[in-house]
């Protein structure tokens, strides 16, 4: 069984700028996979390469074994995409938008209408089925994007920052829904800025920065890569910083509070306490703080010089520009010809 997504040395260049740099990534069938990275890391470029909205400059990209350019029809048929941008047909009521999309995927009209009803109910906007997109609230628009991605019953569901700017209730609704879909067998690729989201939902995450894959791991594995902090309150403030063994990467003293950064807080704490007692300190309290995924993410994506890449140029903005170079605010509904 081929992987849901497989890219090998995938490159996307915009002139001198390299949005994707030899990106090799594999997402297995049935996985819930997260893509994390700062703005401009190349996440959306990566996704758009898979669905045919960006043409790769080099390397290979396959969806369920189908090359995204040579076998574009099979590759695209397998994908349901809920993008960041509201790229929905403004001319038709939303139910028709969904039946059209299903139709493009070869689903006959009567079945497409049934599916449209089903997904609108599933995302909770069935009562808005006869409204046009522009009349929906922001949260409803986000729900519609998900419904449109689901109406073709894709094997691979790609969610590009689906919870950006939505309220807590909707975020939890979306989390429940995508979890359910994943349990039903749908492979899910999720990009997000919310570390909590990735930690909660994803089997594995890839961290990207400046078009490169920094690492791929489970959220737990990533957290294990970080250092923990053991905070010890002493009965009396030490006169000097205790000289601990090499297990202590960093030791700081603030009054009677001693903070020691170590690899594994749980395993190191007994030894630290013994060493402190051997030095004559009396322990009053102890607390171990594990590194958050967010801290690890920041650490992994920190860069000394981000001024020469495309991603840095965009990091001040939102993300990769749309195909026609316009931003959301620049788009307006024009007259009909």
């Amino acid at each position: 069984m081929p992987p849901a997504i497989e890219t090998v040395d995938l490159v996307k260049e915009y002139g001198d700028l390299r949005a994707l740099q030899e990106l090799s990534l594999t997402v297995e069938k049935g996985e819930f996979f997260g893509l994390l990275g700062p703005n401009g890391a190349g996440k959306t470029t990566f996704i758009n390469t898979l669905v045919g909205l960006v043409r790769k400059s080099g390397g290979e990209a396959r969806v369920f074994g189908h090359d995204v350019e040579d076998d574009y029809q099979q590759a695209r048929d397998a994908i349901g995409l809920a993008p960041q941008e509201f790229n929905v047909d403004r001319f038709f009521p939303i139910k028709e938008v969904l039946t059209h999309k299903a139709g493009y995927h070869g689903i006959p009209a009567s079945e497409a209408a049934e599916r449209a009803d089903d997904v609108l109910k599933r995302v909770g906007i069935y009562d808005k089925r006869d409204e046009r997109f522009d009349w929906l609230s922001g949260g409803m628009k986000r729900r519609l994007l998900l419904a449109r991605a689901l109406v073709t019953e894709p094997d691979l569901l790609i969610l590009d920052e689906p919870t950006a700017g939505v309220d807590v209730q909707l975020r939890h609704d979306l989390w429940d829904l995508v979890t359910e879909l994943n349990e039903e067998g749908t492979t899910i690729l999720l990009t997000t800025h919310y570390i909590e989201e990735a930690e909660r939902l994803c089997d594995r995450v890839a961290i990207m920065n400046e078009g490169r894959k920094v690492t791929v791991a489970t959220p737990d594995e990533l957290k294990e890569r970080g250092s923990d902090t053991i905070a010890v309150r002493l009965a009396s403030a030490p006169t000097a910083t205790p000289d601990l063994g090499p297990y202590a990467h960093e030791t700081t003293v603030s009054g009677d509070r001693l903070e020691v950064r170590v690899d594994d807080g749980g395993a190191t704490a007994p030894r630290l306490l013994n060493d402190l007692e051997a030095m004559g300190h009396e322990i009053a309290d102890l607390e171990i703080t594990r590194t958050s995924l967010e801290e690890i993410f920041v650490d992994l994506t920190r860069s000394e010089d981000r001024t020469v890449t495309r991603s840095s140029a965009e990091s001040a903005g939102d993300d990769e520009p749309p195909a026609n170079g316009k931003r959301e605010g620049e788009r307006e509904q024009e007259g009909v010809a």
Partner: protein, 267 residues
């Protein structure tokens, strides 16, 4: 070719203009009432017959062509460009439709709009003057070919346009002048200088207007001015249709190529 996906896109494109008749069908109907009233009745009454036809009847084919190809072009270019502008063309681009299916659906639907407008204009003309159809099959074939040709050109326009003004420029400043100098309101046989005729023959619109006029009225300027040598002179409309058909297929091939490379559509 007629896959479910193709039919879905074709239907969507048809519905887009059918549901907005105020924007799509009313303007050409009203404009042509004015054309027929002013050029045909008020001015036409002071003009002698042209090629043996009352002036108002002579201009019917040209006005049909003008309306049909303008609307075919406008529909395709607007649909593509508006989809790009608001990015909902992504719904099509991310679907498993082949590039050929996408192009044929867009071209086909826009050609249908052009044909409907052509019929509307003919019906408006019919209200002013009795119109017969001399070569029905030829007329239908010509109308299908030229509306498809301009729908195909409209796709190119929609892909290269940077803003809505570009679409206006294409339609108003390129298409319409060519049509107006395409022997809509006059006959090539009225020219006394050979260079005038030769210059006109460089305008592709001349062949379209002439073919439709041949289909509707049975009169062809191209036969009259002898564009083909002696014994073949009467085949001029057929040759025109052949060349136009070839041109249409070439333009559609360019459309498919542009979709394939993602020109104006993908990064």
């Amino acid at each position: 070719m007629l896959s479910v996906g193709f039919r879905a896109l074709f239907r969507r494109e048809i519905l887009r203009f059918v549901r907005r008749p105020k924007n799509t069908f009313m303007p050409p109907a009203i404009t042509n009432v004015l054309y027929f009233a002013v050029f045909g009745v008020i001015l036409g009454g002071r003009i002698d017959e042209i090629a043996g036809y009352p002036y108002i009847l002579f201009i019917v084919p040209g006005l049909v062509v003008l309306g049909a190809i303008s609307n075919a072009f406008e529909n395709a270019s607007f649909s593509i460009f508006h989809g790009r502008w608001n990015e909902y063309i992504h719904e099509t681009l991310t679907s498993p439709l082949s590039y050929v299916e996408m192009v044929v659906a867009y071209v086909g639907a826009s050609a249908v709009r052009g044909l409907v407008v052509g019929v509307i204009i003919a019906a408006v003309g019919r209200a002013f003057v009795p119109i017969g159809i001399e070569h029905g099959l030829f007329l239908v074939a010509t109308m299908i070919v030229i509306t498809a040709l301009f729908a195909g050109l409209g796709i190119i326009g929609g892909l290269v346009a940077r803003d809505f003004d570009d679409l206006t420029v294409m339609n108003q400043f390129i298409l319409r002048p060519l049509v107006f100098f395409g022997a809509v309101f006059y006959s090539l046989e009225t020219f006394e200088q050979t260079w005038q005729i030769n210059l006109s023959l460089l305008n592709p619109m001349v062949y379209m207007v002439d073919s439709v006029r041949f289909g509707l009225l049975g009169h062809s300027d191209l036969i009259g001015v002898g564009i083909l040598p002696g014994p073949y002179a009467d085949f001029a409309p057929l040759v025109s249709l052949g060349v136009l058909t070839t041109g249409t297929l070439l333009v559609m091939a360019v459309d498919v190529y542009l979709f394939k490379i993602g020109y104006g559509l993908t990064d």
